[in-house]
């Protein structure tokens, strides 16, 4: 077993400049030990190769939303191997996923990004038979329905790009198969954030963002695939456009939508466009805007600065997004096994609870329940009044006793999703038009 000692000498979690050499060595080691390794993984007792796996370092990249150092630390503690995180904004994530497939092992991406990335062949699907927690995954990601009789929302719903027919396919399957593109991890229902102290009236509709009373104090997100969906919710709520399918607009619908946005921009309706989490927090906390599209932890961040902010449920419903973990196509051998082990662990509850506590939802809700207190579960998932203070994962007080989550329970929120973030057939055209709107 000399081979297995080799990586030990070069193992170094922080000196990245050695990355290339170390990886080559690793592959050599894995090649020799591969028979033992795969037999171990299949029986579900990975301990056979536990010694070996300590030397593995997996490079994960993705948006900062879930690229949390706490997860890497816990992974090291529970599984023994290293997780190296790089966080980027969602545009750069897409870019890197496609153009530099060798620069990562695990991609933490959203489903609409997956729709762009997966066909390029940069990633490989996951064999769900190797995941012990596969059947714990919410049916939302399997058949698109939260409950048996639920409607399927418009847009790039995760289940539509969640499966491929076989190991080498790059086109998506219509129904669940054994090969999953991304293992879902995190998702949420988004809506408008408001400053209740500034808006001065109840906000009930997406159309309220276009109210002339708020001129110069509104903002929307400038990531085309997300922004266009917000825009569609707004235009539909205004009664200007009725879409056949918001998630897959025709050129005519795109033109109309962009015209309405351009006109609003000309009239000075928007104060700014934001692209990243912090921008939305700062816009809101500093009082630059009073109503804008927003993400739920951003609302929490504003509130934690002592500024009132509400994640306002609206009558037209939510725009949802979901993300998951996928494997780079170059992964094989020991590293691939480690990646499976990691992803299975991700679904096993600890991470889910961590994400739930930040206001997101875990893809395997039931497993995370075991890691949350009854009060936490009641507040975050069941829409019940908090009995004691609700703490953030880092231990800061997020909400005082008596608080109720905006939008209520998991079922109420995820049950009223109107559409998902999307990549349309006319994506190219839409992006061009969106760019025109931004530059106009």
């Amino acid at each position: 077993m000399n081979d297995n000692d080799t990586p030990d000498n070069t193992e170094d979690t922080t000196v990245k400049s050695k990355g290339l050499n170390r990886r080559k060595l690793l592959k050599g080691a894995a090649g020799v030990g591969v028979a033992a390794v795969s037999s171990g993984a299949i029986t579900g007792f990975p301990m056979i190769w536990a010694q070996n796996i300590k030397n593995v370092t997996l490079r994960q990249f993705g948006t900062g939303v879930s690229n949390l150092n706490a997860i890497a630390d816990k992974c090291k503690e529970d599984l023994g191997f290293n997780l190296q995180l790089t966080s980027l904004d969602s545009d750069s994530v897409t870019q890197r996923a496609v153009t530099q497939p060798n620069s990562y092992d695990i991609a933490d991406i959203e489903y609409w990004i997956c729709k762009k990335v997966f066909p390029s062949g940069a990633m490989q699907p996951l064999d769900v038979r190797r995941l012990r927690n596969y059947d714990k995954i919410s049916s939302l990601f399997i058949n698109g329905k939260l409950t048996e009789d639920a409607d399927i929302a418009q847009g790039t719903a995760p289940h539509t790009v969640g499966f491929v027919p076989d190991r080498n396919a790059t086109t998506f399957a219509d129904q669940p198969t054994d090969w999953m593109t991304l293992i879902p991890t995190i998702y949420n229902a988004d809506t408008l954030g408001i400053r209740p102290d500034l808006v001065g009236r109840p906000i009930t509709s997406w159309a309220d963002i276009m109210d002339p009373a708020f001129r110069g104090q509104t903002s929307i997100i400038n990531i085309p695939s997300i922004g266009i969906m917000d825009a569609a919710m707004i235009c539909e709520a205004m009664g200007e456009i009725t879409y056949a399918d918001k998630g897959n607009m025709t050129r005519g619908e795109i033109d109309q939508t962009i015209e309405i946005l351009k006109a609003a921009k000309r009239d000075g309706q928007f104060r700014a466009f934001w692209k990243t989490f912090d921008e939305s927090v700062n816009l809101m906390a500093s009082g630059e805007v009073m109503i804008q599209s927003m993400w739920s932890p951003a609302v929490a961040a504003v509130r934690s600065q002592g500024v009132p902010c509400v994640y306002q449920p609206l009558q037209e419903g939510y725009r949802a997004w979901g993300g998951g973990l996928g494997l780079a196509s170059h992964l094989s051998g020991l590293e691939l096994d480690a990646a499976y082990e990691y992803i299975d662990w991700y679904l096993s509850g600890w991470v889910g609870a961590y994400l739930n506590r930040q206001g997101y939802y875990s893809a395997a809700p039931e497993t995370s329940r075991a890691y949350m207190s009854e009060d936490e579960w009641g507040y975050w998932m069941q829409g019940r009044e908090a009995q004691g203070d609700i703490l953030s994962p880092s231990g800061d007080v997020m909400e005082r006793a008596g608080a109720v989550r905006d939008g209520g329970s998991f079922e109420e929120r995820m049950g009223s999703v109107a559409c998902w973030n999307s990549v349309m057939d006319e994506n190219q055209y839409m992006v061009r038009k969106w760019n025109e709107f931004i530059v106009s």
């Binding site: 870019q95 762009k116 390029s120 700014a272 466009f273 692209k275 700062n282 500093s286 630059e288 061009r432």
Partner: protein
């Protein structure tokens, strides 16, 4: 002397080699790649080798391009005007009113200190300064000068130009100061003795003689503004756009061939302007 320069001549080739290699590998070659890719086709995840003019056709026919260029030129012109006015005044003060080299050096050091904070961090700190509830607005409101917060201070053309002036004025000050230091002080004395007013001295002696410094500074400011996107992104709040932002947007949306075409057009524009400016000055002599 002739014998020596012959020997040196041969040395010159290997001495210039490292620089040349770096420039070839990381400047000439990449630009060639951009040039080639600008004729390629693409879809949402990959580049398709091809030869087509669509990228240029779309670029040159789109009203957005025109708008972006107009914006960029507007920023460049405004920034040039302000950096030149401020830069000239500051350089004049440093060159003619400070007597010792030590005070001059000290003043320069004072001016450069703010540049040692990361640019990214410095940019976001304009927001608490200029925002609706920022320092400037609260001061104005507290002093009773304005009732409502002024919203044009941030996320506006004003904010963008302000940030440019902040970043680039020193690029104007240094070359102008450099030229001014070479002006023969006797000329100024003679003019004073001949009864010229302070204004006449500046107009007829100092401005013409620091012309080359002004041009070099203008080249710096102009090219920096033309190629920028970070400032516009942060100070414009995403609402304002220039050519750099257009390219950045295209890159971030994976439309590399479109971005490459925009980049080539931008490069051509900048180069044309520079050829004109370089005709007016021999930069090697001015250093």
């Amino acid at each position: 002397m002739a014998r020596m320069s012959m020997a040196h001549n041969l040395h010159s080739y290997w001495q210039a080699l490292p620089l040349t290699l770096v420039l070839l590998a990381f400047l000439v070659f990449p630009i060639a790649v951009i040039g080639i890719v600008s004729f390629w086709d693409y879809n949402s995840y990959s580049l398709i080798p091809d030869f087509m003019l669509d990228n240029y056709q779309y670029l040159l026919s789109s009203p957005v391009t025109l708008q972006a260029y107009l914006n960029t030129f507007k920023y460049a012109a405004l920034t040039w005007f302000f950096t030149l006015s401020i830069g000239f005044t500051v350089a004049y003060f440093l060159a003619f009113h400070l007597r010792s080299t030590r005070t001059q050096t000290l003043c320069f050091v004072i001016c450069t200190v703010p540049f040692f904070t990361s640019n990214i961090i410095r940019m976001i700190s304009w927001i608490p300064l200029l925002g609706r509830n920022g320092l400037v607005n609260s001061t104005l409101q507290a002093s009773g000068l304005t009732e409502q917060p002024l919203s044009f201070l941030l996320y506006s053309d004003f904010a963008v130009v302000l940030a440019y002036v902040h970043l680039y004025t020193l690029f104007m000050v240094v070359p102008i100061f450099n030229s001014m230091m070479r002006i023969d002080r006797n000329l100024v004395e003679a003019a004073v003795d001949a009864g010229a007013s302070g204004f006449q001295i500046i107009r007829d002696i100092i401005v013409p003689l620091s012309r080359s410094g002004i041009i070099v500074g203008s080249i710096f400011v102009f090219t920096l503004v033309m190629g920028d996107f970070v400032t516009v992104k942060i100070m414009g709040g995403g609402i304002k756009a220039n050519v750099g932002m257009m390219i950045y947007n295209e890159i971030s949306l994976l439309q590399y061939p479109a971005a490459a075409a925009s980049a080539i057009v931008l490069l051509a524009t900048v180069m044309i302007m520079l050829v004109i400016l370089f005709r007016l000055v021999d930069i090697r002599k001015e250093l």
